[in-house]
Every structure is written in structure tokens, then in C-alpha cells.
């Protein structure tokens, strides 16, 4: 395991992400590629915020639901109450964060598999409400349609593919910047300590519950933000957009890149979103392919793709040790 890097180093990475995002429209303005790129950035805000929670040891299976809460909240406030997207962008994210306080307070009383199950149950409840209840409001199984594009801000009309891409890029770079900073700060140091040994952290004076709840609420805020964008980007919402399948993909995207570093989700999301596009013709079978990829990653790169160099180095060192040392000794740590 590589030691965590201290502050300062990640700044270069953020600049790189921002430059790459800014460079894309120069290379191509093809609407399909812009769509894929926008999806990558949207997924990236989700996986980054999911990893924030993973860093304290939570596998929050309801993360996608908070995206849904942001999405439905904004869609309804714009279509029913006539609010501007630029206001509901923040209201939707705040709604997700506010709901995360009571939900997190209950779910975080338990940990490990129990936490996994409670959040999964909650996400199903949310999905069923969107699908089966208040049909006049949420649109039921046929979905919520007629959601407008974001509209004008500062003299710019955000209704073309390019403008939407630009908006998502700004949101995403902002989120990445904030989360990278947080991760390399004292807060991130303590948050990751909670995952490594929560009882030790607690006896050293770290309020483990508060740390977990803070990351839960902050992650939900970011998920809500992505959800609002999603609603006005796709212009139609279905309950299945926030169901088990996209949640599983979110886990796969994050885990494949690796959760040990903030750059894991970046690598994982870019690669896997592109892979998902290439596998589009497989329809629902694509999840089989992702399952296989996940299993292979767990077997051969359990710390994720970004940790591959150090994993390989360690493996090599171990192999070399075995070659020179008497049988059995080389495996000693």
C-alpha cells in the first residue's frame, strides 16, 4: 500500500482534468461525442461523491436515490412552480442533503453489511415511491416528461449540447476540486482513518459517527447536484434511472478505478462510461460484462486500476523474493 500523498500534489491532477474537459470542444463538436463526454462528467461527480463516503467505510447503496431526489425536486419545482433552473440547481442539491441528515442518522447506527442492506432498502423505497405513488406528481411508470433545458444565464442560452457540456464541466471540475482538497486535507486524513480502524479512531477522540454523517450528507449534496443536471439534460425522468442497475454501475465504476485514491473514480469513470457506450448494443446484458470486469478487477487488481503500478511492483518484489529465498520464506511480509 502506497502511503497517502500530502497536500499540494493533487492540484496538478485537477488542472489536468480541467484542461482535458476544456480541450474536448476544440477537438470535436459532434453532438454524440459531446453527449458521451457530458455523461462522463455527470458520472464522475457521482463516483467522486460515492468515493467520499467509501473513504469512511460506507458502501451507500442509496447514493443514486439522492441523485433522484435532486432530479425530481428540480424537475417539479421548474415545471410546477415555475422556478428557474439556476435556483433549483441548488435547491435540489440542498433537498438531497437535508433528507440525507435523518436517513444517514438512522442508517449510520449500523455498519458493514447491515448498513449496505439498510441503504439498499431505502433506495428501493424511494424508487417505488417515484414509480407507484403520487402518479400525478412523479408521472408513474411512464415517467416525468416535459422537463425544460436550463435556460438563460448571463446572456448565454444553455440549451445546446455544447453549452450543457460546458455547464456540466464547470460543475464537475468544481466538485473534483473540492473533493480532492478535502481528501488531502486533515479532514480526509481522519475520514480514511475511520475506514481503516474505526474503534481506534473513536478512542483517539474522533467522533466516528459525525465523520460518517458529514460525508454522507456532503456526498448526497453532490449527488443531488448531478441529479438536477441529469433531469434538465435528459428532460425526462424514470424511476428506473435511480434503481438498482445504475447503482450497481456506480459501484463498479468507482471500484474498478480504485477507492484508495481520489483518482480511482476519475480513471474508472472515464474508461467505463466509454465502455458502456461501446457495449450499448448489448442492452441489459452489458451488466454481465461489467460484472465480469468487476470480478477480474477484484482478483487481479483489488486496489483498483490506479493502484496497478504499485500492486505490480509489490507482486514483482514478492516473486523476486521467492526466487532467491528458500521455499516458503519469500511470502513473509
Amino acid at each position: 500500500m502506497e502511503p497517502r500523498r500530502d497536500a499540494g500534489v493533487p492540484a496538478a491532477g485537477v488542472v489536468l482534468v480541467a484542461l482535458a474537459a476544456a480541450a474536448l470542444p476544440v477537438v470535436t463538436r459532434d453532438s454524440y461525442y459531446l453527449d458521451v463526454a457530458t455523461t462522463i462528467l455527470m458520472n464522475l461527480t457521482l463516483t467522486m461523491s460515492f468515493r467520499l463516503q467509501v473513504s469512511t467505510g460506507q458502501i451507500n447503496m442509496a447514493h443514486i436515490s439522492f441523485m433522484g431526489i435532486g432530479a425530481y425536486a428540480s424537475a417539479l419545482l421548474v415545471t410546477r412552480a415555475g422556478l428557474s433552473f439556476w435556483a433549483t440547481l441548488w435547491i435540489g442539491a440542498l433537498a438531497a442533503a437535508l433528507l440525507a441528515v435523518p436517513i444517514g442518522s438512522v442508517a449510520l447506527r449500523v455498519s458493514g453489511p447491515y448498513y449496505f442492506l439498510i441503504t439498499f432498502a431505502f433506495s428501493e423505497v424511494v424508487r417505488l415511491i417515484f414509480n407507484n405513488f403520487f402518479e400525478g406528481l412523479f408521472g408513474g411508470p411512464s415517467g416525468l416528461v416535459g422537463i425544460p433545458k436550463p435556460g438563460r444565464l448571463l446572456g448565454l442560452a444553455f440549451d445546446g449540447k455544447l453549452e450543457l457540456y460546458g455547464l456540466m464541466a464547470v460543475l464537475c471540475v468544481g466538485v473534483v476540486l473540492a473533493l480532492v482538497r478535502l481528501d488531502s486535507s486533515r479532514f480526509g486524513l481522519t475520514a480514511s482513518a475511520v475506514r481503516q480502524a474505526d474503534l481506534l479512531a473513536e478512542t483517539l477522540g474522533v467522533d466516528v459517527f459525525r465523520y460518517k454523517l458529514t460525508t454522507f450528507v456532503l456526498g448526497s449534496f453532490v449527488a443531488g447536484l448531478a441529479g438536477v443536471f441529469f433531469a434538465h439534460f435528459r428532460q425526462v425522468l424514470h424511476s428506473s434511472d435511480f434503481g438498482l442497475e445504475p447503482m450497481v454501475l456506480l459501484v463498479v465504476f468507482t471500484v474498478i478505478g480504485g477507492t484508495g485514491s481520489v483518482w480511482g473514480p476519475v480513471v474508472g469513470t472515464i474508461l467505463m462510461t466509454i465502455a458502456a457506450e461501446l457495449l450499448r448494443e448489448l442492452h441489459h446484458y452489458e451488466i454481465l460484462v461489467f460484472g465480469a470486469v468487476l470480478i477480474l478487477t477484484m482478483l487481479f487488481a483489488p486496489e483498483g486500476l490506479v493502484a496497478l503500478p504499485s500492486t505490480a511492483r509489490r507482486l514483482l518484489r514478492r516473486l523476486r523474493g521467492r526466487a532467491t529465498a528458500p521455499a516458503g520464506v519469500g511470502l513473509a511480509p
Binding site: 502511503p3 482538497r181 479532514f187 480514511s192 480502524a197 481506534l200 473513536e202 478512542t203 477522540g205 458529514t214
Partner: protein
Amino acid sequence: MLLELRGVSRRFGGLLAVADLSMTVARGAIHGLIGPNGAGKSTVFNLITGVMPLTAGEVFFKGERTSGLRPSAICRRGIARTFQATTLFREYTVLQNVLVGAHLVAAPGLAPALFWSGTYRERERRAHAWGEALLESLGLGSVAGQVAGQLPHRDQKALALAMALATGAELVILDEPMAGLAAQEKAETTRVLRRLREQGITVLLVEHDMKAVMGVCDTVTVLDHGVRIAEGTPREIQTNPAVIEAYLGAEEPGA
């Protein structure tokens, strides 16, 4: 009186692991807690530090009731501990481990961590310098940048103590600080404990090495089957018939 236990009990199903235990730890003392295996020593530590709830009784620290509080809240009052099976943040460097321990001294907060204000960076610099000095004083200065999980056993023990001290605790509770150490390393640990006493830090420790306990402790409390059977200076304990009786078949104190 720094720490006081009043009628503390802990029941595990049908087993009364700690039975109506009352004891006090004086400020500035090195206080030993000994007893045969299964006497309830580690349970007492878990009860004091809030890792386990009490079945009955109360714990007071500096005159304030701490029983019922969560471990983090108890640590915030000034009690830190190490574990028998040395626990560390294995993926972190030695310095990062200590910085997590120093959490209370340099409380982070979410907003400063996000915006990296000048005061935040200044505080971080001071925390780093302080952590390095602490490591230096415990002989860990040269391994500050190493990953904790790969340290030799002796350094892991020393690091666990460093983390407890980093919280700024007035009372450190050490669960077998000498276990698995060589004679020379035990002597070094003894020196460290005496130095802590000079600095005004109170130490409560469980230890199986009787020679070390008798050599370093000011007061020793003896537990057997969850009951306090003796308390006094090492000399008094070594000649106490009840203690010798309890240890019969095991090793004799002072042997």
C-alpha cells in the same frame, strides 16, 4: 484523584467479568493493574474508555462522570488508550498516524479543510512539527515517513503510545505495553513511562511482566475473577497472601 471507579460491574451473559470494582488512580502515578488470565483487566480498560457499556457502577474522571459517554467524548476529556493487539492505521505513515491522534489538538472542521485558509495551513504546519517532535522523543523520528503496517513490532508498540499521547491526554491507559518486547526494549519502555510521569502524565497499565510492573509502578491493583483482591505498593503486593494464592499454579508475582 484523577480517575475513580465506583462499584463498576460488567456481565457477559452468565459471567460476571468485573464485579463491583472500586478503585482510584492518583494524578501523576504509574498505576499497574495485574491479575491472572481472565481476571477482567482488559474489560476494566474497555469500561473506563467507553468501548463497552457498564452493567452497573460509575466512572469519574477529574470529578466528572464519564461512564455512559462515547469513547471519543471520553478521549476529549483527557483519557487515551492503546490496545492489547496493537492497532494502527496500517495504510498510513507513522507521522500520519500521529496526526490522526492529534485530531483533538488541531481540530480540522469541514470549511477550513475545503478552503485551506491561511490559519488552517499554519495550524497544519504546527501540527506536523509537533507530531515530528513527539515521534523524535519516542525514538521514532527516523521512521516517521514509513508505512505503519510495515514497522517492526517494537516500533508499532511505540507508535501506539505516541498516538495516545498525541491526543493530549492526561491519563494514558496501556494494555500490555511490554508484550513481545525484548529485555532491552522493555527497559526502554520503562524509561519512557518514567519520563511521562515526570511530565505529569498519569499512566494506568496492564502488564504480565511482573518484574517490569514491580519495577515501574507506584501502585498496583490486583484483580482475580473480576474482583479486586489487593492494592498497594509493589512491595506490599509481592508479600500479600491473597495475591500469592491467586497466582498459585501460574507464576508468582516477583518471580
